[in-house]
């Protein structure tokens, strides 16, 4: 499936706006991503969030990714 | 630090005269304590004048009002006679800080703190107020505008203390006003302040006094501004001249509270507005 990368994260994937990765869970997705793009490791350290069909997940890596889902990787944010 | 709270002016003067180190008079304390807190000053002696009965009273005298140096803004505001006679002076003093600050702050303290932006000072000057100063064996009375000589500087000599601020008796046809500009409605320091006192005769300005604050190292008297009004019924031409004279008299700086240009411009604006209020209070047709 196609995984879109927020602008901030593209530097970790050789500048790509999106990558093709097959994954059933967030954990699988992130593991495969770092395997293919070691540069993503730095972004992972700083915190990453995964939006699946618009719902943002920050910490729970067990969440399943449905087929045909829109998957978007973005940096984690905090607030006031 | 020694703290003394004498019961008489004489005692206060003696304490101040004897002290070899840094001595300060504590009236309302709303400036003094802030300067102590920020480490700006480290007094060796503080003489609290609030337990001197004469200094905490407003007395009506043959010549007008004798306002003790420790009289708070709240006390001024509660004096019906004073509010009626010199509403501009009372309003100016009551603009200093919050109700809490009003419970303590004094005109004499506002004067001696010698900030260019002190609210009560232009109003006092416009009203023709005088300060009675007591030193060892000496008492002198000088116009308020002769007290402050520069930012944080006064003409008081070592060991001297202001005993009272004296306001003249109000002429029936005299009205005064003070306006200041601040970004907030309250709890602020004047960016510009204007005090005006007018005396009328059949609607024509006979006498005028105009003083500006926060536009020069000290509050300033502006005779040219007064002259612009004398002989007029406060028509637009006179007000234009007043505004121009006020703006011209300004010698301000750029600082965190406003720019020099802004102060020059707004001094004229406020002068017009204050003059109208004073004129109305003096019985002039609005």
């Amino acid at each position: 499936m196609q995984i879109s990368l927020n602008g901030v994260l593209r530097s970790g994937a050789d500048g790509a706006a999106s990558v093709e990765i097959e994954a059933a869970t967030i954990r699988e997705l992130l593991t495969k991503l770092v395997e293919r793009y070691p540069g993503m490791g730095e972004h992972m350290e700083q915190g990453i969030a995964v939006a699946i069909n618009g719902v943002v997940y920050r910490d729970d890596w067990t969440v399943a990714i449905p087929p045909d889902a829109e998957v978007f990787l973005m940096p984690r944010i905090a607030g006031g | 630090m020694r703290y003394e709270s004498p019961a008489s002016t004489k005692e206060a003067v003696a304490l101040l005269a004897k002290e070899k180190g840094d001595a300060y008079v504590l009236a309302g304390g709303t400036d003094l304590l802030v300067r102590m807190k920020t480490g700006f000053i480290e007094p060796d002696l503080v003489v609290d004048i609030k337990r001197i009965p004469d200094m905490t009273r407003i007395k009506k005298t043959a010549g007008g009002f004798k306002i003790g140096a420790a009289v708070s803004g709240a006390q001024l505001g509660a004096s019906k006679d004073l509010c009626k006679a010199w509403p501009g002076v009372v309003e100016a003093t009551n603009l200093i800080g919050s109700d809490q600050v009003q419970g303590r702050a004094t005109m004499a303290g506002n004067l001696c703190n010698a900030s260019p932006a002190a609210d009560s000072v232009p109003a006092m000057i416009a009203a023709g107020a005088k300060a009675t100063i007591v030193g060892k064996g000496k008492r002198r009375t000088i116009p308020v505008e002769k007290v402050v000589t520069g930012p944080g500087q006064t003409s008081l000599k070592r060991g001297e203390v202001i005993e009272s601020i004296n306001l003249p008796k109000r002429n029936k046809r005299t009205g005064d006003a003070y306006l200041r500009f601040t970004p907030r409605t309250e709890m602020d320091i004047a960016v510009v302040g204007v005090g005006i006192s007018l005396t009328l005769e059949r609607g024509v300005v006979k006498k005028a006094r105009v003083a500006l604050g926060a536009v020069a190292p000290t509050a300033i008297v502006v005779p040219a501004a007064a002259r612009a009004l004398v002989g007029t019924k406060l028509d637009n031409a006179a007000l234009d001249k007043l505004a121009a004279a006020c703006s011209k008299a300004c010698n301000p700086i750029d600082d965190k509270r406003g720019t020099a240009d802004y102060r020059i411009r707004v001094a004229g604006v406020l002068a017009r507005r204050a003059a109208k209020i004073a004129y109305k209070r003096a019985g002039g047709a609005a």
Partner: protein, 760 residues
């Protein structure tokens, strides 16, 4: 999400009412204990020595005289805070910000600290510390700091996010780009293009309670910290890391918190207090002065922003770009990135690009301030939207509605939105009576939209039922605005009992699992979710116990309105058992009854708002007075409407302060000129009107009650709304916030001069 989406048409018994808060009496009687209100036996007074320079090398610190002063028990410098960060740059930044390491990076940067038997002695000791500085060139303005000629503050900062990687260090820590579509093609299609630059000055959260803590570290390596904080668990982790302590051995208790708004999400003097206590082997109380709070905690960024909008003659936005330059103080931050993520979030824009720069200057390390980075970007975007509406001859609301983001719209940061409330907010504003009120001369009206994220995160609660049926709920998110009421209401709702039978406390770090900081509008969303699940967990236990009491299989027990009832054949005559009855017998049915939940509260909704402001401008002084103000915001579900309104009003008031008068003013020497409440002008009571509120409830489908966070969004629209109102009143557009009297009068003068030139 795994749980059911029961939010639609939910009938609530407790939720949605306005109950009195459990901390109310303590707070109106002076009994509530804040950061500075705790004491310990043998406690010392801690004070911090700070740099008077904007940027200076610290050649030498001589503490010998201070150490010899009678009553001084410890003096520390950076030498007493060895590097335990293990190469973690972010942690190193925090450590260096807590105390300068060889270089003072801003006016107010801590250089040493003392602990003494009383305040007098501590003050004396500070004066006895001799620091020799060598001044270095400084820069405090964001645009100046980006220039090639600016002094480079750190030799280890190389601009990230650019290709190829730079070879020279720079004050630009990061470049971020986001967006989608073809911006050039979009602008080529535009009939109208609006393009302007804006500046916003640095503001501070301005919480009334200064940072304060009481630290106690024992020689055995254990310690306690009583502190005013939004995140006791995060304070624990960070302090333990910086001091080389075991996390479990440091117990952090959050006091009542006297305001935070993001400023109490990070540590400032707490590690110093702990280090002093460790060195002195005595408890140390360290309370910041207001001056220190302004100079040396975490205000928000000052910014410089370019915005460009292109639209068809019918008002459809064909392209939009933003370039955002945010200074993060003396260390890198994520602030430009957040500007990129939020700037265009209210709109559906096919072709958009946002570029953000994070810039380092000689100012204190920026922290989050309520919807961090969003108000500045929104000021530029909402001003531009207004100008666009004028150019097109369209109503300001209609233009926004035409381009509004909806469910399915692609957000600036990438993903598509679920159900969101900006369209509903705009429609509520369009029909609001406020929009129909008449305006007089020199008065104007403006509207503006705003967006901020909600976040969820790690959460953990404990719910314990006493033998009399009353309930203790322990949460780990700090209560900043009435959350204890809301949590009590949620627990009561689930259990089917009275609100008054639930007592909610904020637990310390030794009593509960990790909870993320109360930030990002997450408190009620995430602890609310965990409370629901903990209550349901407790209900399972209650049902088991009821089954035992009634001697029926647990499968036959249902829980309805606070009672266990047996259903099924032959159970018809059995009595229902109330929670109280079951609790009373708990000792003989299996022991205490409790519910627990730990959850990663994902699926946080998005917060949207639209505001209306009426302003009167004095054309002779440039002074703006707020005549009327209305907030419309989507809350998802308002648990306690009073506190939701309170968040809307408080956020709006902070935005109004920012719009009109609040700003950090630095002198030419790089020192802060106005570190106090006299000259840092937050709105006073007489500056504001009543702030009208409309709560919309567009449920967040990812929360069982539909809750969205409400704390932050409403600080976003005021700058734009007030700028637009001033433009409406005067015909003059303000490009620099705060729109203070001096700036407004200057702009009016410039416009008048321009008009004269044109006429001539």
């Amino acid at each position: 999400m795994a749980h059911d989406n029961r939010y639609t048409g939910q009938k609530f018994q407790v939720v949605g009412n306005r109950f009195e808060r459990p901390d109310g009496v303590d707070k109106v009687t002076g009994r509530a204990r804040y950061g500075a209100d705790a004491n310990a036996p043998g406690q010392l007074v801690g004070l911090v020595l700070r740099s008077p320079h904007a940027h200076a090398e610290i050649k030498k610190i001589d503490t010998s005289k201070a150490e010899k002063l009678a009553g001084v028990k410890a003096v520390i410098t950076s030498a007493d805070l060895p590097d335990h960060t293990g190469g973690n740059r972010g942690m190193m930044d925090i450590l260096e910000n807590c105390m300068a390491r060889g270089r003072a990076l801003y006016d107010g940067h801590a250089v040493a600290a003392v602990a003494a038997v009383d305040a007098q002695t501590a003050r004396k000791a500070l004066k006895l510390i001799k620091v020799s500085y060598k001044k270095r060139p400084h820069v405090t303005d964001v645009d100046e700091a980006m220039k090639d000629t600016a002094p480079v503050i750190h030799d280890w900062v190389f601009t990230g996010g650019v290709d190829p990687k730079p070879s020279k260090p720079s004050n630009i820590a990061n470049r971020t780009q986001m967006g989608h579509g073809d911006v050039d093609a979009g602008f080529a299609d535009a009939d109208v293009i609006v393009e302007h630059s804006y500046k916003t000055e640095q503001t501070h959260q301005g919480y009334i309670e200064p940072h304060a803590c009481l630290a106690s570290v024992n020689p055995d390596g254990s310690g306690e910290l009583w502190v005013t904080t939004q995140g006791p668990f995060s304070y624990r982790t960070v302090c333990a890391n910086l001091l080389g302590m075991d996390i479990a051995k440091l117990k952090v208790t959050s006091s009542e918190i006297g305001g935070g708004f993001g400023g109490k999400t990070h540590v400032w003097t707490e590690p110093l207090a702990l280090a002093l206590s460790r060195k002195a082997n005595r408890p140390v109380k360290l309370v910041m002065t207001r001056d220190e709070v302004f100079r040396a905690t975490g205000p928000t960024a000052s910014t410089s922003i370019d915005v460009k909008l292109g639209a068809s003659k019918f008002g459809v936005i064909t392209a939009a770009t933003l370039e955002l330059r945010y200074q993060g103080g003396a260390f890198p931050g994520p602030w430009g990135m957040l500007g990129c993520m939020t700037g265009f979030a209210c709109y559906n824009i096919e072709n958009q690009r946002s570029v953000g720069y994070d810039v380092i200057v000689n100012r204190p390390k920026v922290a989050a301030y309520r919807a961090p980075s969003a108000p500045m970007a929104a000021y530029a975007v909402e001003s531009a939207m207004d100008i666009l509406a004028q150019r097109l001859g369209m109503d300001a609301v209609d233009l926004r509605l035409l381009n509004v983001a909806k469910e399915g719209t692609k957000a600036p940061y990438g993903p598509i939105y679920g159900p969101i409330g900006i369209e509903a907010s705009l429609r509520a504003v369009k029909d609001h009576p406020h929009r129909k009120g008449k305006l007089k001369k020199n008065q104007g009206r403006g509207i503006a939209c705003g967006f901020w994220f909600n976040i969820g995160g790690q959460t953990c609660v404990d719910l314990n039922i006493g033998t009399d049926g009353t309930v203790n709920l322990a949460v780990g998110t700090v209560d900043v605005g009435g959350a204890r009421s809301s949590m009590g209401m949620i627990a009561a709702e689930e259990l089917g009992i009275s609100y008054h039978d639930v007592k909610v406390s904020v637990a310390d770090t030794a009593s509960l699992g990790h909870n993320d900081t109360t930030e990002g509008s997450r408190g009620t969303f995430s602890s609310g979710m965990a409370t629901i699940f903990a209550a349901r967990d407790a209900i399972d236990v209650l049902k088991t116990r009821a089954a035992k009491m009634l001697d029926v299989p647990v499968e036959d027990i249902v829980w309805e309105q606070g009672q266990a009832r047996a259903t099924g054949k032959g159970h018809g005559n059995l009595p229902s058992l109330t929670l109280k009855e079951i609790a009373a017998k708990s000792g003989s049915t299996g022991g205490p009854i409790a519910g627990h939940n730990e959850v990663v509260a994902d699926g946080a909704g998005m917060g949207f708002a639209c505001h209306i402001a009426d302003v009167e401008v004095d054309p002779e002084t440039g002074h703006s007075k707020i005549l009327r103000y209305t907030v419309v915001q989507d809350a998802g579900k308002a648990i306690h409407p009073d506190y939701v309104e309170g968040q809307f009003q408080g956020a709006a008031a902070q935005g109004i302060g920012w719009a009109l008068n609040e700003e950090y003013i630095y002198g030419a020497d790089g020192t802060l000129q106005n570190p106090g409440f006299l000259d840092y002008r937050i709105p006073v009571c007489s500056d504001l009107p009543f702030i009208d509120t409309t709560i919309l409830e567009i449920p967040n489908p990812n929360h069982p009650y539909g809750i969205r966070g409400v704390g932050e969004t409403s600080i976003v629209p005021p700058l734009g709304a007030i700028g637009n109102a001033i433009a409406d009143a005067t015909g003059v557009r303000m490009h620099h916030a705060p729109m203070s009297p001096v700036r407004v009068l200057d702009a009016l003068d410039a416009a008048a001069a321009q008009a004269q030139v044109s006429a001539g």
